[in-house]
């Protein structure tokens, strides 16, 4: 495990306040908050549409993304995710943290970590559609707006994480 110079990170309270002010500004300017998983769903809907337009437009779930005859790509979530990606890239480059590679425990196999990353992503993809959002749009944004479902979601995320942590600990060993 390569040693990470954690001193370069901001204080979590400073970073949290910066994220909170960004979230507040987003809500005050645009009326909605931050989100990430919705952009992935729109990309999937768009790919589906390019392969089978009729099936996509009549699909029980994905048809909501074609309401009003618009492309699912004409949506703020995608612009936002592009911004998150670019912001993360600039952040990593300016901090000297951009390195190709992956993180895992010193004795864990690369394949072990990659399989878990893919499986975790897949499960999250299902879960985020079920919950109508992810950590950004539900826990953070809905949490700040005091939405009941968002708070239930947030507590459930932590519960799920702590319940499953023991079973996947070996990727960090």
């Amino acid at each position: 495990m390569r040693s990470e110079s954690r001193t370069e990170y901001w204080s979590p309270y400073a970073a949290g306040a910066a994220i909170g002010l960004t979230l507040l500004a987003t809500i005050l300017v645009l009326g909605g908050g931050l989100g990430a998983s919705g952009a992935v769903a729109r990309l999937v809907a768009a790919v589906f549409h390019s392969i089978a337009p009729e099936a996509a437009e009549s699909h029980a779930y994905f048809r909501t993304y074609f309401a009003g005859g618009r492309s699912p790509l004409q949506d703020w979530m995608l612009y936002q995710l592009a911004g998150v990606f670019l912001g993360g890239l600039v952040g990593a480059l300016t901090a000297g943290r951009w390195r190709p590679g992956l993180e895992k425990g010193p004795t864990a196999a690369r394949a072990h970590r990659l399989v878990l990353a893919f499986a975790g992503g897949t499960l999250t993809g299902v879960a985020a559609r079920l919950a109508r959002g992810c950590t950004s749009s539900q826990a953070l944004t809905g949490g700040a707006m005091l939405s009941l479902g968002s708070w239930a979601f947030m507590l459930s995320v932590f519960a799920g994480g702590y319940l499953a942590a023991w079973f996947v600990r070996r990727q960090w060993s």
């Binding site: 993809g125 947030m154 600990r169």
Partner: protein
């Protein structure tokens, strides 16, 4: 002040796309600075090694929440223009549990995986590929999943509405719980006690948040117990204190205060469809 700007017609969609890109950029940059491009740092909270996720998330929520409560409290922000995520309690609890499991397995959540991928992390790319596959699987299995997807639909409900409590009071309690969580995770035996007379940024922050929470609780408590000043009064009464209490008025006993004055100048536009898309 007419906030939020876009829903009240301050600018068009093109400008909105540019602005959301900029806010996304800031979000990604700050996530990176928090260390959230690292799966290891993100999941350390589940092994009791690093409390950054808790501290960052709760600080962000508290800051944004206090801003919303205060701005709506003085009447500059119209909460009708704010797109509060609807509650589908069963689906969100099950979805949250599954997402938590996916989080600790995969090492990321969707937003942070974008930052991880942008930092060059291959595991984040695999996680993102999984997200795409999972989204497709959800769509493919929607026929089976639909009852679960609609389990516990309640519409837009806030915690204060659900509790029948004052929004300011709920906000104040959340701030105090967050402060207690910060102090509990910062505590080291013999660490905090002796030097409390020294003013550090953290202690100043604690003091500021605690007093904001206190002011909020007192302010809202006074308002909800105040006589119904503006009921039926002319809309010209521009006392800020009488305008639109918080998240859609809840079951506050003085509910009628707000309604006569709540007029949106323009039809409220929505970036996001109010329904199922997040």
């Amino acid at each position: 002040m007419n906030l939020p700007l876009y829903p009240l017609g301050a600018f068009g969609e093109g400008v909105g796309f540019l602005l959301i890109f900029l806010f996304g950029f800031l979000f990604g940059f700050f996530l990176e600075r928090a260390g959230f491009g690292s799966a290891r740092k993100l999941t350390d909270i589940f092994y009791f090694r690093d409390w950054a996720v808790l501290r960052v998330m709760f600080t962000a929520i508290v800051v944004a929440m206090l801003g919303l409560l205060y701005l709506a409290g003085v009447g500059w922000l119209d909460m009708d223009g704010v797109n509060i995520p609807a509650t589908v309690l069963g689906a969100q609890i099950v979805g949250g549990l599954l997402l938590g499991i996916g989080f600790v397995m995969g090492g990321y959540c969707p937003g942070t995986s974008a930052v991880g991928a942008a930092s060059g992390k291959l595991d984040a790319v695999f996680y993102l590929l999984g997200l795409v596959v999972g989204t497709g699987l959800f769509g493919a299995g929607f026929g089976l999943l639909e009852p679960l997807y609609r389990w516990g639909e309640m519409g837009t409900v806030t915690v204060p509405q659900w509790l029948g409590a004052n929004a300011g009071l709920v906000g104040a309690v959340i701030v105090l719980v967050a402060l207690a969580a910060f102090l509990a995770t910062e505590y080291r035996p013999g660490g905090l006690s002796p030097a409390w007379n020294v003013v550090t940024p953290k202690r100043a922050g604690v003091a500021v948040l605690a007093s904001l929470a206190f002011a909020l609780a007192v302010g809202y408590a006074m308002r909800s117990s105040a006589p119904v000043v503006a009921a039926g009064a002319a809309p010209a009464t521009t006392q800020p204190a009488a305008v639109s209490p918080l998240p859609p008025t809840a079951t506050s006993p003085s509910g009628p205060v707000a309604s006569p004055q709540r007029t949106l100048p323009v039809e409220v536009k929505r970036f996001k469809k109010a329904s199922s898309c997040s």
